[in-house]
Symmetry: C2
Subunit: 234 residues, 2 copies
Amino acid sequence: MPASPAKSPSIKEHDPAPKTGASRRRAGRPAAAVLDLAGITAAALRLIGKNGYDGLTMAALARSLHVAPSALYNHVESKRDVLLLVEDHLAALVDVTAFAAEPWESAVRKWAWSYRDVFAEHTPLIPVIAVLPVTDAPQTLAMYETVSAGFRTAGFPAERIVSAIVALESFIFGSAYDVTAPADIFESGRMAESTPSFTGAVRSLAAQGHEKPADEAFSLGLEALIVGFGALRK
Amino acid sequence: MPASPAKSPSIKEHDPAPKTGASRRRAGRPAAAVLDLAGITAAALRLIGKNGYDGLTMAALARSLHVAPSALYNHVESKRDVLLLVEDHLAALVDVTAFAAEPWESAVRKWAWSYRDVFAEHTPLIPVIAVLPVTDAPQTLAMYETVSAGFRTAGFPAERIVSAIVALESFIFGSAYDVTAPADIFESGRMAESTPSFTGAVRSLAAQGHEKPADEAFSLGLEALIVGFGALRK
DNA sequence: ACTACTAAATGAATATCATTCATTTAGTAG
DNA sequence: CTACTAAATGAATGATATTCATTTAGTAGT
């Protein structure tokens, strides 16, 4: 059962500000570059927003940029690289501002909800992020930095910070899938009689009439993690 | 951002024991069926075990069964159905026996570790399971039944059981990915100076010299969830 | 034994993708 | 004006899942 090798990508971008002087290129550069990473990222997001991840094909992406599919490969090594660009863009949308101003508990709470909400709309990225070396995603790394600093300031023992963040993140990724699950996911259907405890539990939850069951589960788990981890602080 | 429609599958199986009498088929059945769902499942698992999920193609699956690819479609509606068969087979491997004999805390602990371990080897199934209606997966449903019954017996309020299980499952799925992450996933590399808190936390964890960092995070999160949820019992 | 019926298997398309590569295009530096 | 080069092109290539008309081969009823 060999897992996918998880190769590190090599997204190709060049000096954005070609400084004069020694660091200048030896030969001339064509200025008329139609494509760049920011443009590719924006186009990919536009496409995903309109047609979902099924709509994100290299051909469609190229078409939306008025370019041949092969042109993309001058800027990106594979489709996975495109997904990485999108992922890192989204990481910047996760709200970490509360770590600067609020107590640890509410900062974690806000961060986690925001993180879940962002990636619930982008679950196809989860398998990519989950095993992605942070080196390859600067904005994601920036998010980790802010969160780590918040944990440190709150009195977390240094050697536990990463594990706590990883655990929270795992919970967040899994919960992001739940958001997209169909409403009837727990209908036991024809097997209802043979599963009385589960069927009863499902009915009992349904009787509560929550609009978003996924939010109940997320809240329940998140608060437990916050209380549990909060006890580690010194 | 339309999520994938999550269509319910229709795996085709027929009366395994053709009872004589009124329920008999009108016309004859060819007995020489080379394929059946159990065989397809076993072959898929064999293939995955040998070459990973990349090796699981309909062509390879058919070849391993000495059959034309199109023959599979007499038994299965799509490749997703094959993945469902595999998933449900794996659900039966998750250890729920502790719910019959041990206190709630240790039963949950054993179940969760077992669940994570099984699916850490099969992360490509996670996006499939996470949004899968339980109706389509009898063994998975059986697992839920045992776990629900354990929660009920332990004094859990009925209306919280499903949410608690979902939260645990979310954490488990996310954690299964971690197991497969590369060891250097947190190397901040060139950006180390700009991320002092995070880099420090990573080093501090590394200094502990744990063999499996993913296990540390899983243990930390799981114990927090167990304590937090345990408090809900009456 | 003959016939009708049917599940299941076949083999040949189809369609959709990502990706590769030899070649062309068009800026720029010296 | 020349040399150089990043970037774009267009035409393959190779996987892949899936469809479909057709064939195969059991079985039940007569």
